[in-house]
């Protein structure tokens, strides 16, 4: 076997792998739909600004609460600001907050979960802290944190990250605990791999799919929670637009300006549904176990049936 032919084979196999991955992506309806929705939402946030005639802060008082028209595609708000431009910039802020929270919680939660799963003492300490954090209702805790930290966008991110990290840590830890018992981890120990190598190179990749799923939910959750915080006046401070505080403003005039609640509402729903689709779809795609192992099921089936048979 010469090295050149080997490297050729290697290249070709890589190509084949890529096309396989692409095929799997195309055959995954959930992921495809979710991706399109997210593409749209993200597109609104990123490309939207180029089509705007107004800044989100530009007030034209005489045009207050005007309904959707050619001039203002989505109408104007109670200060006469263009709603379309507020929704577009709101998308940037809401998605930005969600993404930041998802990334921060994933990284921190992954490390905490992995370490907790491997070291017993650390586990006790970290998990008790997580339990404590999870015992308090998320939104209350976030409000309290915002009150302490002050109303600023970064603080929203910090507060939400603290609220959601335990969820990720839990998910990662429980997966890692079962992975730890697998024979291939023992095989690595038999090779003399250091604990950190085992944790981050061999256990961590196996926790990724539940983590990604959880992270997309948290992405979605933080958009909602941020909206809720803003809705309660404890989120992204005005005059910066976020979907949440547009809704907050819209609440007061809901009976004479439906567009102020409907359009940001639709965006929130789209983003959340899109993210959930992407999460579920990704889980299906990343997971290489395509065949479920049916053995267990069959035994249970019998038990169920025999119970029925016995009355």
């Amino acid at each position: 076997m010469s090295t050149t032919s080997l490297s050729n084979i290697r290249k070709e196999l890589k190509k084949e792998q890529r096309s396989l991955l692409f095929k799997r992506f195309l055959s995954n309806k959930l992921l495809l739909t979710g991706s399109f929705i997210m593409l749209f939402v993200v597109g609104v946030a990123l490309i939207g600004p180029f089509f705007l005639n107004y800044t989100p802060y530009q007030m034209v008082v005489e045009n207050r609460l005007s309904p959707p028209s050619a001039e203002h595609l989505l109408g104007t708000d109670n200060f006469g600001r263009d709603l379309f431009s507020r929704v577009v910039y709101g998308a940037q802020i809401s998605l930005g907050v969600g993404l930041a929270v998802a990334v921060i919680t994933s990284v921190v939660g992954l490390v905490i979960g992995l370490l907790a799963s491997y070291y017993k003492t650390l586990d006790h300490i970290l998990m008790r802290i997580c339990d404590g954090l999870m015992a308090i209702p998320g939104i209350l805790f976030a409000i309290a944190l915002m009150a302490a930290l002050g109303p600023q966008t970064q603080n929203v991110i910090i507060a939400l990250s603290i609220v959601f990290t335990p969820h990720i840590a839990r998910v990662v830890r429980s997966k890692a605990l079962s992975i730890r018992e697998e024979t291939y981890v023992e095989a690595m120990r038999a090779q003399g791999a250091s604990p950190l190598r085992i944790i981050f190179l061999h256990i961590a990749p196996n926790t990724i799919s539940p983590l990604v799923v959880q992270a997309t939910f948290i992405f979605a959750d933080s958009i909602i929670t941020e909206a809720a915080l803003s809705f309660l006046g404890a989120g992204v401070p005005t005059p910066d637009p976020s979907w949440g505080n547009i809704l907050y403003d819209g609440k007061l005039v809901i009976f004479n300006a439906w567009w102020m609640t409907v359009f940001p509402g639709i965006m929130i729903i789209l983003a959340v549904i899109g993210l959930n689709f992407v999460g579920d779809g990704l889980r299906d795609m990343i997971d290489p176990h395509t065949k479920p192992r049916s053995k267990k099921k069959r035994v249970n089936l019998f038990r169920f049936n025999s119970q029925k048979a016995r009355g």
Binding site: L6, L13, K14, T183, E186, Q191, G192, L201, H202
Partner: protein, 333 residues
């Protein structure tokens, strides 16, 4: 090559409600096992489930710490080495596991799985590692294009080849095979057995072969150690042990093996009762609760390892000449 002396491994029993009742209770998984592993041979450990075969293998590799005893390799006691020194030894001593499904990381490509031992032991650079791996893959009968595949794309037999390749990449001297063929189908089993044998011939490997399948063990091993409840009850050359078993347990074990030949009529020794729990092993000879020849001494005195002709050792009072024939009067029959 490796001398194991009086190796013991006790697990602390799970503390349940019993914690209140007694102090520490132990699962005596391996209770004083001694044997030698000679260069180039296949030494088989046989015995029923839970008798401590796997624990013996794992303890040798220090996957958990031995409770007592020593294992001399290259003049050094493995159990006393520092972690650093032990990691060096691990390059020489590899392990193949029973379950071909859980012993490969499902998230890693075959190539990465096989390169990992080389990374751990810092052997070669990136492309040299790939070359070594490709070479070993062809040795165990895998194709080059398997390099980028994931484990779930392989059948049990192929996975076991991958497991074997993982052990072989660091060029070991000893391989501990923990039931490498038990999970495989008959027609695949013979493929893997043949592979193990030809690798041994070509590379001069030493195997510690753990199995409960006596016909496989008979086929592949040079010497056999029979384990029962954490004890090595009989040891000798394969032919001697199989043709002429001395210990009552070995006799029963051999006669229980179903033979694929309906014409053979055998005298069977069917044992009564179940294997006692290693939490609370019987006093004296651990086998006395099921032994058809149990005597009074057996209940009280632990039989010592007796050397018979031809390097055949057995732990049973029946073969102890210090015990008179009267005392050997059968009690349990």
């Amino acid at each position: 090559m490796i001398q194991v002396r009086n190796m013991k491994k006790y697990y602390q029993a799970k503390k349940g409600l019993n914690k209140l009742k007694s102090g520490n209770t132990y699962v005596k998984a391996v209770d004083g096992v001694s044997f030698d592993l000679r260069k180039g041979e296949t030494y088989a450990l046989v015995g029923e489930s839970g008798c401590g075969k796997s624990t013996t293998g794992r303890t040798l590799l220090r996957l958990h710490d031995a409770t007592e005893g020593e294992a001399i390799y290259n003049g050094k006691d493995l159990f006393k080495l520092s972690n650093k020194e032990m990691n060096k030894v691990r390059k020489d001593m590899q392990m193949v596991f029973q379950d071909p499904y859980s012993s490969l990381n499902p998230r890693k490509r075959i190539g990465n799985i096989l390169e990992e031992p080389l990374n751990i032991h810092n052997i070669g650079n990136k492309s040299e590692r790939t070359d070594i791996v490709m070479e070993v893959m062809s040795k165990v009968g895998l194709q080059v294009d398997h390099y980028y595949r994931y484990p779930h794309e392989f059948s049990g037999g192929q996975r076991q080849r991958i497991g074997l390749a993982r052990a072989l990449v660091v060029d070991p001297k000893v391989i501990i095979c923990d039931e490498p063929v038990s999970a495989l189908d008959v027609s695949i089993q013979s493929q893997v057995i043949n592979l193990l044998q030809s690798l041994q011939r070509d590379l001069g490997l030493t195997y510690l072969f753990i199995s409960h399948d006596i016909s496989v063990v008979r086929h592949i091993s040079d010497r056999i150690g029979v384990m029962y409840l954490g004890n090595l009850v009989e040891e000798g050359y394969t032919d001697d042990v199989i043709e002429n078993p001395k210990h009552p347990y070995t006799k029963a074990l051999l006669s229980s093996v179903p033979l694929p030949d309906p014409n053979v009529q055998r005298e069977r020794v069917i044992l009564q009762g179940d294997i006692p729990s290693p939490l609370n092993p019987p006093s004296g000879c651990v086998f006395h609760t099921r032994c058809p020849f149990a005597m009074d001494v057996c209940k009280t005195t632990v039989p010592q390892s007796l050397n018979l002709a031809g390097n055949h050792t057995v732990r049973c009072h029946l073969h102890d000449e210090g015990i008179t024939t009267e005392e050997k009067k059968v009690v349990n029959a």
